[in-house]
Amino acid sequence: MPEVILEAVDLDYFYPDGTNALRNINLQVEKGEKLTILGSNGAGKSTLFMQFNGLYRPTTGCIQYQGHAISYKNKALIELRKKVGIVFQDPDSQLFSSSVYQDISFGPLNLGLSEHEVKARVKQALFDTETTDLEDKPTHLLSYGQKKRVSIAGVLAMEPEVIIFDEPTAGLDPRHAREFMQLLKKLSTEGKTIIISTHDVDLAYSWSDRLAIMSSGEIIAHGEPGELFLQPELIERADLALPWLIDMYCSLVEKGWLPPSTPLPKTKADLLMIIPLVPITIKPML
């Protein structure tokens, strides 16, 4: 039984204006796993994330970190936030300083680390997010993608146990989105627990160990990506689409190119491997 690091228990949340943003959320996050929260716009993904490091307080129910319900006292919150970091969707609301270097150093300095240690961490975070050549630039002269990478560096430098990314690839060009996924892989091999939210179904399918699908404030399903994506009615209910790999796989099974017992392909290479080689005979046109 894997260790549960973060858990939402019977969580309900109402915004001050009365909107019921989260309904009866029960979700376990296992240590070291790659979890994706899938859901359309306004499904409540960001609101749930704000619960995970104590920025919002549930109306009923609770958040547990390593089996203990989190406390909302200042000191306890700071301890929690050392362990659970969030990279927000809009980098403009995360970067508070005009200096890239200063902004990245903010988090680690708040952890009470020595100046020497903070410097080393900032340097590593700059390197990991490929922003080393931006360190002397002011944040307002950066492009959206660059700002996004700097805001990621700002959280990486704190070296949290659990890192939550809210829509990390939205607004990144394909190259940087790919590099970001590489970075996630690296963090994952280092043993970090990673939670991302997205509506990119391809990414959710090939990257994650586990999926949770949200729709209007509820988690309507969670489990392995392969299982969930084979339930079209579920995908439709959540306003999502099928990953192209699954779509292709289903069509191939339907047309008889693949036996129904074939395992689901996780990557394009997997799919190409399982398609049987059939010699093509070209008939001369008469």
Binding site: S97, F106, E115, K137, P138, H140, L141
Partner: protein
Amino acid sequence: MINIDSYAYSNNLKTIHPGEKSLFAVITMTVCLTSPTYITPLLVLALMAGVIILKAGIPSRIFIKLMLVPLSFLLISVLTIAFSVSTNPSGFWLAHTLYGLTIGIRYPDLITAAQLFLRSLGAVSCLYFLALTTPMTEIITVLHRLKVPAIITELMVLVYRFIFVLMETAITIHRAQASRSGYVSLKVSYRSLSRLFSSLLGKVFVKSQELYNAMAARCYTGEIKVLTKKYPVSLKNYFLITGLGLPLILFNMLWRR
């Protein structure tokens, strides 16, 4: 403003210690403002123009344009000092009398006006030197070192950052309005502008809340602590500052006698 700001990050003097640049600007500005002659401001102006254009590599066109900005204000205020109106026509150097009222220039006033004009221009050039060569974040760090209260320096950090966020938002809203004929007539323009400001205000509240959340998520406890990159301290620069500042100070003192 944006222009000055981008030069601050890309000029040839950006690697010089911000403290040294600030010291240089402050010393020359003080000398310029306290000078009893108009030769010192002229010297300061020439020195700053030289440093800004030749050393920092700011195009001379930009420098001249920037110097023209305060010129109009200056001319107006200086003219009111130079010209006087009086019923007594004596003592005027250049004057015209109409119906018993004399409008004209008295010689000492003219000297005062000219001095004031040059002094202000010289001081402005010193400030431009600092603004064009030193990023705002560095200046804030210098202020922090000088034990300026944290509330002021922290506010400066946030204000400086959010000027740009706010401006970007305003430009985006304006563009969206203009593309839907929001500014075709005066009446429509007024309405669009008022909408722009009200939606900007709403956005500011949302943004500030988001910013607070994001900072709290990074363990913010009420004090913004950041690391600043260290710049090498150059003894040579201190000698240079003294070498340029001392003659100006001496010149001022000798002239006073």
